[in-house]
Amino acid sequence: MLSGYTAVYNATVVDRLLAEGAIIIGRQNCDEFAMGSSNEHSAYGPVLNDADNTRVPGGSSGGSAVAVQAGLCMVSLGSDTGGSVRQPADFCGVVGLKPSYGRISRYGLIAYASTFDQIGIFSINIPDAALILEVIAGADDMDSTVSQEPVVAYSSLLSEERNAGKKYKLAYFRQALEHPSLDPEIKSAITGLIDRLTAAGHSVTAIDFELLDYVVPTYYVLTTAEASTNLSRYDGVKFGHQTAEKTEDLTAFYKKNRSEGFGREVKKRIMLGTFVLSAFYFDAYFAKAQQIRRLLSQKSQEIFNNYDALISPNAPCVAFKLGEKQGDATEMYLADIYTVFANLVGIPGISLPLFRTNDGIPFGIQVMSDQLKELSLLALSDQLMQSEGKH
């Protein structure tokens, strides 16, 4: 759809990085319109995982993850609507930070689902992620959805927080670790970590989360609805793909442009989004999902009233083989089970590359905190990376 498109202005994040002397090296591959969990839905073909070229890098921001994994750059940006920064970071063994909803201006970011989308950061360590966040976060006249909260000096405060050696109150969802889809190797790595954290003086509590099996369906109803709306701008008139065929009227022209320009996964999601928004089904699906989103948001507030952070797997499995998950239309969707919660409730989440399988495939752990508590999240993450010997 956007083949040959040349941006005519910079995203706010790019301008802010350039203003601080950053060197922008290039663009990176991702799933078409950020829709995918494996990078296999890209018009350019899939990115390969640098740890094992037969495996996917995760998605949608797979190119951004591999660029850092393979040492092509120190830091890269991606977008995270339901895990598209944290899951590829997990699959590629790098740090992946999705800040709170609204922490970073989205001016210049292509919209997928506007109540979920957030720009995220890939890096090799926590101080780099903190520094980049400090540069790119904050209010922006060009994005009315961005938070007006002042930006914390994440980078300099991180070392102070780290030296304080704080003991944290942590929680995890019992249902998340006991989920039948979770790879036993991931489960045992996280259980081991919980034991070490407890031994180090932190408290780690198992809490119940009965809605775990509903987060992915809720996420897909809401995001496809928003995507079908956001992607209506691709009509092939002002920019984007335009058909070479002659069409008899404007509607046929739009249909032809869009049908030729969009890939299969994108069309699937536009169709589902149109379905859940159509008058007859609106209450049964869209309004229902919005109600469940409120229940999830209440759950999140309840958790963070009592705990500093929530720990969880990033994905039920490690990086899978290319072409492995191409069966049922929803098979790949379930891989988002651990990441979509943060987007549904607008909290920050970070993927920390702490582990490897016996075959040498990297995977990590996800840490989430309350909205706009990035400093605390980064400080805890830094402490975890240090104590697990990842520096």
Binding site: V8, M271, I292
Partner: protein
């Protein structure tokens, strides 16, 4: 579960401004059946007296001064237009004789 009929697919395709040939239509129908069945699970959750959540931050009405900024020139605006005469964007004829 809602029956995904050919008629429903046609209606949704029209609303989505998409077209599918016969083979694609069979594929999207299967995809839709699987996806709708997948989201059907939400009916199991009791949401009696729960208000839909529309905004996930407390932010309201973030305004800025009404000053023209961030605009691009006509030349830049036309840079990515598939068909243009240099001044206007060209589309198929919309008014029939």
């Amino acid at each position: 579960m809602v029956a995904i009929t050919d008629q429903l697919i046609d209606d949704l395709a029209h609303l989505s401004r998409l077209t599918f040939d016969d083979a694609e239509k069979a594929a999207i129908k299967t995809d839709m059946e699987q996806m709708v069945q997948f989201v059907e699970k939400l009916n199991e959750v009791d949401t009696t007296n729960v208000d839909p959540l529309l905004h996930i931050t407390p932010n309201q009405n973030i305004f800025r001064e009404d000053i023209v900024e961030g605009s691009i020139s006509r030349e830049e605006a036309l840079k990515n237009v598939p068909k243009t005469d240099g001044t206007y964007i060209l589309v198929p004829k919309v008014i029939k004789k």
